[in-house]
């Protein structure tokens, strides 16, 4: 049987144009376009690229929801067995688009998806768990290496062949551990690793410690009486009805809401959508997660200067570290711009 493949590329590789055409809206063409030609040869008899979807990197980045929806519809029509995007090398917006569309295709159609980029491409951190990202060099000069690697991995996946570890298969780990039998026992490997360590020779640890970055503490507030304090929460507290559809888990967005006219959180105005804890208490009285009532009391009493009028909120369960960091950076920048002096962050 010949597997049906749809390929995704950007405006540049489709020969439409460079940066000036980055706003190219999604379109689909039959058969292969650009690097798809060589990719098709490498896929051989077993798989056929039936269509190529093309979208401008700028358009995908700025109108992600529309771009994704349009591409998914085009891709869906072909009922492919396999989806391949890129390679994106180190192009950030292209990497984001390839990662996003691959992840979305995989989630929606349940088929294998393969893309390819340089490990530092921002698309990697966001999507490496949701699609297979083949490792490529940092520029298109690596095309000759990237395409064969993508084809080989894609065929292995779609044929259901037994897979080895990510480092041997040439893709960026999807963040999962799997047991494999080694040539040597754990004891023998331990003795060899210790000898290498003692001799100062290189060795490969079988599990790297997770790294948590620390930052030096910010200086203390000197004048609480005149300070502006902001409330932020990861407890999933949102206006009733969740108007911005913040996810109950694995949030990919946060909300900013005006609380300047409120003296307290109430169940009529706010609810929690956090999927990771018992919401009975917070839904009866959201102040137990977002302490607005007490903050207003202290504000009126003059204990501190002013409560920042906006409340930033998201759901803190299963949140990808990359997204959490993104929200933190954006919220932090806004608070700085608006002259906030301190933040109280509540989490569940």
């Amino acid at each position: 049987m010949t597997f049906k493949v749809v390929h995704y590329i950007n405006q540049f590789y489709a020969g439409i144009g460079g940066e000036e055409k980055a706003d190219w809206k999604p379109e689909v063409r039959e058969g292969v376009v650009g690097p798809g030609m060589q990719l098709a040869k490498l896929l051989g008899e077993d798989a056929k690229i039936v269509a190529t979807v093309i979208c401008g990197d700028g358009y995908y980045g700025e109108h992600t929801d529309e771009a994704r929806a349009a591409c998914l519809e085009m891709i869906g029509k072909y009922k492919p067995d396999l989806f391949i995007a890129g390679p994106a090398f180190n192009a950030g917006r292209y990497g984001f688009a390839c990662g996003d569309i691959s992840a979305s295709v995989g989630a929606k159609f349940g088929i294998h998806t393969v893309t390819a980029m340089y490990p530092e491409n921002p698309g990697v951190e966001l999507y490496h768990k949701k699609t297979y990202i083949v490792v490529t060099p940092d520029s298109a000069r690596g095309m000759g290496k990237a395409l064969p690697a993508m084809a080989a991995l894609a065929l292995k996946l779609v044929k259901g062949e037994k897979m080895g570890p990510a480092r041997l298969e040439g893709y960026i780990s999807r963040g999962m551990r799997k047991s494999f039998f080694n040539e040597k026992s754990g004891a023998e490997r331990a003795a060899e690793m210790l000898l290498a360590k003692l001799k100062g020779e290189p060795f490969r640890t079988e599990y790297e410690m997770p790294v948590f970055n620390k930052i030096p503490p910010a200086p203390a507030v000197k004048d609480l009486k005149h300070a502006t304090i902001a409330l932020v929460s990861s407890g999933g507290v949102v206006p009733v009805g969740n108007p911005d559809h913040i996810r109950v888990s694995s949030a990919e967005s946060y909300g900013t809401y005006d609380i300047s006219k409120l003296d307290a959180m109430t169940p009529e105005t706010f609810q929690s959508v956090h999927g990771g804890y018992d919401r009975t208490f917070v839904n009866e009285n959201p102040n137990v997660v977002v302490p607005l009532d007490v903050m207003r009391e202290f504000e009126k009493q003059g204990v501190f200067g002013k409560l920042y009028p906006y409340f930033n909120t998201t759901t803190g369960t299963g949140t990808a570290v990359a997204f959490a960091e993104k929200f933190g950076r954006e919220i932090g920048a806004k608070l700085k711009k608006d002259g906030v002096d301190a933040v109280i962050f509540t989490s569940t």
Binding site: F212, N213, K214, I215, P216, P217, A218, P219, A220, V221, K222, L224, A227, V232, S234, G235, Y277, D278, R279, T280, F281, V282, E284, N285, N287, V288, V289, V290, P291, D293, V294, M295, E297, F298, V303, F304, T314, G316, T319, A324, E325, K326, F327, G328, R329, E330, I331, G332, A333, L335, K336, V340, D341, A342, V343, I344, F345, T346, S347, T348
Partner: protein
């Protein structure tokens, strides 16, 4: 998220949360231990006034945390 807000804004972020060891591991600098996971800044079991009093005490501690100079991660316990 806490860490990134603090880094980007340059102002102290006081985190009120229950699982303190995780706060330490992920790098929160000013930590006030919360009451319980579903209600970190309150205790509904104590009734509306009791719950509010607990909340006031935690926020007062948060004020103390944000006005205290520290050079390393610090947990602000009840006195």
């Amino acid at each position: 998220m806490t860490r990134e807000i603090e880094k980007a804004s340059g102002v102290p972020v006081v985190q009120i949360a229950t699982i303190v060891p995780i706060m330490l591991t992920v790098g929160a600098n000013r930590i006030v231990p919360g009451v319980a996971i579903p209600h970190p800044v309150g205790n509904p079991a104590l009734g509306p006034e009791g719950d509010k009093e607990v909340r006031r005490e935690l926020i007062r501690r948060a004020f103390k945390a944000m006005t205290t100079e520290i050079d390393t991660q610090t947990i602000f316990e009840k006195e």
